[in-house]
Subunit: 514 residues, 2 copies
Amino acid sequence: MTDSAESLLLKIKEQGDLVRKLKAAKESNEKIQEEVSKLLALKAQLNTEDAGPQKFTLKTPKGTRDYNPQQMSIRNDVLQKIITVFKRHGAECIDTPVFELKEVLTGKYGEDSKLIYDLKDQGGEILSLRYDLTVPLARYLAMNKITNLKRYHIAKVYRRDNPAMTRGRYREFYQCDFDIAGAYDPMVPDAECLKVVTEILDTLNIGQYVLKINHRRLLDGMFEACGVPADKFRATCSTVDKLDKSPWDEVRTEMINEKGVTPEAADKIGEYVRLNGGTELAEKLLKDEKLSKTKAAVEGLEGIKLLLEYCALFGIKDKILFDLSLARGLDYYTGVIYEAVLTQPIKIGNEEQTVGSIAGGGRYDNLVGMFDSKHKQVPCVGVSVGVERVFSVLEAKLAAGDIAVRTSDIDVYVASAQKNFLEERIKVCAELWNAGIKTEQSYKKNPKMLNQLQHCEENGIPLAVVLGQSELERGVVKIRNIVSRQEDEVPRDSLVQELKTRISALNKEINGTS
Amino acid sequence: MTDSAESLLLKIKEQGDLVRKLKAAKESNEKIQEEVSKLLALKAQLNTEDAGPQKFTLKTPKGTRDYNPQQMSIRNDVLQKIITVFKRHGAECIDTPVFELKEVLTGKYGEDSKLIYDLKDQGGEILSLRYDLTVPLARYLAMNKITNLKRYHIAKVYRRDNPAMTRGRYREFYQCDFDIAGAYDPMVPDAECLKVVTEILDTLNIGQYVLKINHRRLLDGMFEACGVPADKFRATCSTVDKLDKSPWDEVRTEMINEKGVTPEAADKIGEYVRLNGGTELAEKLLKDEKLSKTKAAVEGLEGIKLLLEYCALFGIKDKILFDLSLARGLDYYTGVIYEAVLTQPIKIGNEEQTVGSIAGGGRYDNLVGMFDSKHKQVPCVGVSVGVERVFSVLEAKLAAGDIAVRTSDIDVYVASAQKNFLEERIKVCAELWNAGIKTEQSYKKNPKMLNQLQHCEENGIPLAVVLGQSELERGVVKIRNIVSRQEDEVPRDSLVQELKTRISALNKEINGTS
C-alpha cells in the first residue's frame, strides 16, 4: 500500500469517529450528513487508491497476444477466405468447449503431452485446455455415435511450448481444421483434403509452395525392412520428423544413441529418406528388393500411387511431392500424411522472412475407436491450416507499408460546423442507422469541423453529411465527398435514398464491377 | 484391462520369445521376418485394445456443450446479425487471450470472484480464464495507453456457476460486447449503446422487450438519503439487484438481517425501488424532499433526464423504462446502468419459455484507471448481449419444427449412375471448385444413383450434374433440378457457365430480389 493510501485510511478512521460521535450526541441530521459526505468522499478516494499503483507488469500471458483492430481485420479476412474454401467443399461447422476432461486428452499426443495446459482442481472435474481440434472431434464423433461427417472447425488451441512470437509461434493460436470422417473408398477423401489445401494457399496468395506427402504404413514398412524392431517404430519416426530442421548426420546420431537403432539400420533408413519424387518413385520402390517384401511398405506405396493418380485428376499433381523424409510428429496417424511448405521466403519491405510449414495433416483411422467402449472405429482424414504464420506475414507486410487495411466500414459521417446541432445530428444518425447505413458521428456536443473531417480522412470514411442552419431552413442538407471535397445540396427528405445511391456507386468503383 | 487384452499380451510374449529364439539360433532372415510380422500384427491389435474400454463417461465438462452443425448454423446467423449492427455503428473489432494473469482479474468482480476458473500452476505465470470481456478491455486500454476506442468483442467467457443449460445458462458462454471508451459529453455514447441494443433485439426478432435504465449515482444518493451508511452501499446494492427474482419482503429481510441496514432505512428504500416511469418521474424525484438534498441523487437524476432526452431523439423512448429497482451485480459501474428484458414468454411449439434479461451494461469510468500506474482514467460505457439465451430459444424452435436451418451451402452435387465414373466425377468437381462453385460428390467409387439423389434431398442441394457414358460421348452432361426433377442436357464445355446462371437464378428466387 502506498503512503498516501495509509494516510487516507487514517483520515477515514478519524472522519468515521467524528460521524459516530455526532450520531451518539444526536446532533442535527444536517450536520451529520455533512460529515458523512466528507467521509464518503474520502472512501471514494480510497477505492481508487486501493487498487494500485499496479503491482504487476501489465501484460498478456506468456506466448499470447491481443489482436488490435488492424490485426483483427487481417485475421478476419484470412479466416473468411479459408471458410469460403471449406464451405465450397460442403463442410459443416462444429464447435467444442475450450477445455475437455483431462482423460480425453491423455495418451493421444505422445511426448508432447507435457505441453498440455491443465486447469486448477477447484473441486469437480479435472480439466485441460484443448491441444488441437482433432482429439475433440474424435471425442465428439464417438460420444454422439456419428459415423459420417465432413466438418470444419476454426478455433484457438493451447500449448505450453516455447513461443517464438515474431515467427507466429504462440501458446494460444488458431487452427483451421477440415476433416472427413467415414468409411469410404481409399484415397478419395484424402485427395480432396490436398485439393482443399491448394485452394486455400492459392487464395491466400502467399507464395509458391509444395505439398509433401508420405504414408505411415510405408514408414513402418521401411523401418521394418531396415531392421528396426517394431517397438522402436514410433520413436524412430519422431527422429525422422526432425529432418526438416536438422541434417541427416545429426538425425542418424540421435537414432543410434538415443533410440537404440543399429548403425546399419540407420544407414539403410538414411538411403530411403533422401528419396523424393512422384509416381515413378512409388513404382520404383514397389520393385525395391527390401520394401517389396514388406507388406506395410507395399500397402503404403500402393496408397501413394492411388493418391497421386487422384491428385492428377484434380489438377494439382505439379504441387505434390512424394517425400520419404516426411514423418509428422503426432502418434495418431495411420495412413497418408502430408505437409504444405512454402518454398520461397516472403518479401516484407526490404527483408525476407522464411515461413516453412503452413498446413499439415493425414489419416487417423484408430482415434475415434479409442473413445468408444466397443472400439468401433470411424476412419478419418483431415488437414489443419496454421494460420498464425499467415497472420504474422501479413502483419509484417502491414507494418512495412506493403499493404493497408480498414478497421471499420463506416460509409457516412454526420457532421456539423455549428453549435447546438447535437440533437439534429442524433436524429439524422438514427434515420441512417434505421435505413441500414453504416454511420458515425462525434460524441462531443460541439465538435470542430476540422476535427470531424480529419476523422473521416483518417478512417477512410467516404461521405459526410454536413448539417447547417441555413440549409435546414431551406429543407436541404449537404453531402460532402471526402476525397474530392465536392459538396452537393440534396433535399432533406431524399437524404437516405441519395446516400444509398452514392454508397452503391462507390462500392462498384472499388470492386470494379458493373 | 479386458480379458481379451490379457490373452493378447500373453500371445505377444510367446511370439516375442519365438522371435528371440530364432534370432539367437541365427535362422534365415526370411523366417525371422515372417515371425516378426506376426508379432507386429499382435502388437497393433494391442494398441487398439490398450486404450479401452473407455474408463470414464464420455462427456463435455460440466456446464459446457458441443455445437452441432444445426446449432452452429443458428449461432453464426445470430452472431452475424449482431456484428452487422456493431459495424453499422463503426465499432472496430479486437480480441484478447482466453486467459489473463490472475492479478488482472483480482478485485474486479466482488463476491463473484469465487466463480473464476484458475489454471493449474505448472511453473511460470499464474493464470485464470476470463470472466467477462470488460476487464480484458480495460487491461488492453491501459496497457496500450489507448484513450479512445469504439470496439466490439465477441468471445466465450468462463464462470464456475451453477449451470441451467436448458435455459441457456452455461459455464462457457458467448458474450457480445460493444463499448465506447473516451472522455466525451455526458450521455451521448451512453444513449448510442441503448440504440445499439434496440437495433440488435429488433433484428433478432425474438419478441417485445423493455430497456430498463437506472444510475449508480442515484442508487448511492438514494441509499444515503435513506440513512444507509456509505460502507454498506455496495452490499445494499447487491441486495436490491435481487428484486427481479425475489419479492420485496425477502429483499427487505436480507437487507436488515444480512446487510445490517436498519428497518427504517429499508422501508424508505422500499418506497423508492417500487418506482418506475419516464422523464416525469425523474423530474418528480428531483423535487423529492430527501433526494433533492443529496448531491449524488441529483447527479444521477440529471443524467437520467439527459439520457431520456437523447433516447427520444433516437426514436427509442417508448422502449425505455426508468426503473429504480435496477441495480446490476457488478461492482465496477459508476454511472448509468441498463438491462434489456423480454416482456413476453416465447412460444416454442406448444409451450412457452420465459427468457428474461437478454442484454445489460452501463458506465464504468474507474476500471481502466485501476490498471494504470498513475491511475489515469479512461471513461467507458458499454453493453453486453447474452446470446446464449437467444441460441437456446432458437434451438428449441428448431427442435419443435418451428424453424429449419441448412448446415451446408452446397449448390451442385456431381453424380453418376454408372460404374467407374469416379475419375470423371473428380475432374468435374475440380473444374467446378476452381470456378468457385460449391460442389460435392460421393467419396465412394461406385455409389448408387438413389443414394446420391437422396443425399441432395436431405441436404437441400438444389442441382445435380449427372454424368453418363452416352452423354459424354455426345459432348453433353445432364443438369438435374432436385426439387422439380427436371433434367436438361447442356454442352460439357458450357457446364460452368450454365450452372452459374442457374445458381444465381435460384438465389434470386430465395432472396426475392430482382
